[in-house]
Point group: D2
Chain length 135, copies 4
């Protein structure tokens, strides 16, 4: 996995591609990604499925953390809590993520997901940082 | 939205369909859904994206809660915390969900996601229950 | 319970008194409380017990939310997630809390707990808002 | 800190003593602790303060994890989410905790807090495991 990843690499993140996730900024422990709501991403209420919003946060956290760990380190999600404020049925979502604390092995990140400037969800997650070759 | 939903209705849950989510049981505050890992669902580590696992839990919670609320009630996710124990790269995941507490307006549910009988993730979520016509 | 509570009322919050919690600001959906570490509040590692830090966040959230709900409404904690960044062994902790979203029945709040200006813990919680006489 | 800790040692856990927390079982990744509600532990609603319930879970997790890590290892809370189902105003609370997953450096635990046999709160937490001498 390239550590200095460009904003988009074809096939780098298959599930991100499937839902149409696009990064617009990744640097210094921060990231921003965007997504256009479409019919395939809806839940039974005809609103954006919460799993899509969650995936923005989870992926945004990975990108933000990857931008500030060492070249021989990798990271993965330990746990994330996400809270939803408002259903979204169309338009564009933006997810801004930042590292709020980082020690050698553990980092905490938070993501704010907005729809037309309005906060629609927030996530707080814990990540593990480890050496690339663990075994 | 039909309250006594059958295990599968074409187009009922578009995002569930996109990721290949299938319910095998929904009754009395419990649900079970399954998913086959495929190349489109992977993350940059070439493991199943955590957003897919989360979507199993979120959707499983919705189905479980829907099975035990009144006919004129609906429900939606307030917040979910999910914790991951092991990366999954192929095979079938099973997500078992149950309502662990329900009051008039709030319910708490938990999901266990297993891969070949082994616990790979667990989620604990809070849901809102409300009358069908909110406005 | 008086809705326009002053910053301190003898006996208003017995457990807050037991741990020495003092509010320095409560208004418009925000609160600030402080606490001096003392020997009775330590854990087996001789650091401040995480339950004390949590109590600052939980109590701070209650005060912040109470300041912005109607006179005939009350509130109580549904769930809180707290994450710790650094152990504290002495000195003064400050907990700043704010409502980040509020609907009619549900509110989300976050607390930042600092020690000498440094973030040592963060909490994200969900609260229920209800009419004073529910039955 | 003694690794094979007996169920009670005077002064071992000052904050646990302050709230009257007593362990009745600690072994093989499980623990059980109890607490009698008293006037000093109440919140402004005259119910048990949520910080006390949380402290049972946090302390119970520490004891359960300590019982199954190596002699030269220590552990500390990374994060805990607790959800409340019912207010408690008097009587005895019991908190049962178990390790639900443990890797070399990270463990996940859950606690169920009951009042007269009824589930009143549940917690899901992440802990860090590390060598005793970190510096």
């Amino acid at each position: 996995m390239p550590k200095k990843m460009p904003l988009y690499v074809e096939g780098f993140n298959p599930f991100g591609d499937l839902i149409g996730l696009a990064f617009t900024r990744v640097e210094k422990g921060c990231s921003q990604c965007m997504l256009e709501v479409n019919a395939k991403l809806l839940n039974p209420h005809r609103a954006l499925h919460g799993g899509v919003t969650y995936t923005m946060a989870d992926t945004g956290m990975g990108a933000a953390l990857l931008s500030c760990i060492d070249d021989d380190e990798l990271c993965s999600t330990i746990e994330i809590k996400i809270v939803y404020f408002k259903a979204v049925v169309s338009g564009t979502l933006t997810c801004d993520t930042k590292v709020i604390h980082k020690s050698k092995r553990i980092a905490t990140l938070e993501s704010e997901i907005k729809h037309e400037g309005r906060l629609v969800a927030k996530a707080l997650g814990t990540w593990s940082i480890y050496q690339e070759k663990r075994d």
